[in-house]
Amino acid sequence: MRRVVVTGIGMVTPLGNGAPHNWKRLLNSESGIRTIDHFDVSDLAAKVAGVIPRGTGEGELDLDKVASSKDRRRMDDFIIYGLGAAMEAVEDSGWMPEDEESRERTGVMIGSGIGGLPGIAEGAQILKDSGPRRISPFFIPAALINLVSGHVSIKYGFKGPNHAVVTACATGAHAIGDAARIIQFDDADVMVAGGTESAVCRLGLAGFAAAKALSTSYNDSPTEASRPWDKGRDGFVMGEGAGIVVLEEYEHAKKRGAKIYGEVIGYGMSGDAYHITAPAEDGNGGFRAMKAALKRAQINLDQVDYINAHGTSTPLGDEIELGAVKRLFGDHAYKLSMSSTKSAIGHLLGAAGAVEAIYSLLAMRDQTLPPTLNLSNPSDGCDIDLVPKVAKQRSVKIAMSNSFGFGGTNASLIFKAV
């Protein structure tokens, strides 16, 4: 089987633009969650979110550097975030194919959970107020999820497989796992893969709040709202952003002397077949996704050093995931470390799995685990190392990243240092 490695990373999250800036702030226990002030939240139950800092300052997302104002009219925010993170990842990888054959062997698989929700909400309002003649010709292409892959392919001339994943909050992880398989199957040598999301708008917040998924008790102290495994947690905090990696066949990467962040050695998937929004109570779906990934990786349980958990800060989900980890890993659960970086950036939905895969790769590179912020009073039974509050040094040769989505869709990725 062809081996697949990660040779480029890029991200924009509420902690800022760019993987280096993100990682520095994450290890520094900083939070990107704040009070929403760019639209009216007076009548919304949840008033905090992880919002992308925009501007031209350090770590801010400069929209003009991603696309011209003309081109941005064709893109809802999720496309701009995805394109920006893809540009960082491609540049980081140094992969700029000059010949046609190499371009045809380079593909793109970037997904999103929801796509252009803010634009759809606005378009619906225009249709109601002003009629169909006022709907922009860019309305559809700005909202379509696969248009992120489309824009990236057009920008770089990548003519290989062009695909998009839609599996709610597991999107980013599925995209990386599926894209790795495209390389393993020899359908491409390089894949730009990941997830992106920008559903932090009135309609998105109202919808998730109605599903009783969001934190509403920390509107006055936003940085404390996301608190996985803590007794005081009361729901997830919406976040926006994108995470993109460049995946490459190992020999291809070695031949051109590319820097390698790690190898994708395991990918497992499962379905809960249980409920549209709630996870199966016995954590069976997550358990089987992790188990399938371990089988594919052909490693022993006790080789896993770090798990970047799905850990969204919901009352149900966090403990169900932890229970599955304990059942699967047995005694080793008390030797590995697990943290939830959603405590710092919120839940990036379709981007979460990809951003967290990158954090896992950086944890391996720097032998440092990102913390679980706000974990002051762990719930009963949350007694393994959850890296509370501050980053910690630890040897990490193998890292796992879990992502679970609405609809009962689960994905688990395993990375190994090369």
Partner: protein, 78 residues
Amino acid sequence: MSDVAERVKKIVVEHLGVEEAKVTENASFIDDLGADSLDTVELVMAFEEEFGCEIPDDAAEKILTVKDAIDFISKANA
């Protein structure tokens, strides 16, 4: 330059992100100013909004240059 011409050119500059100097009356939206078919639809919508007129689809298809737009709008608003 008429007021209509000036306003048309301003819209073209804003929507197509091109330099003002390039927006001459004979400039073709697609051949000279880098527009694609979707841009031209959006331009026509912007003209309709700016000038409060309706440009039917069959007329819109014939608006290919800056001058075409100015002429149509001048006539419609006369």
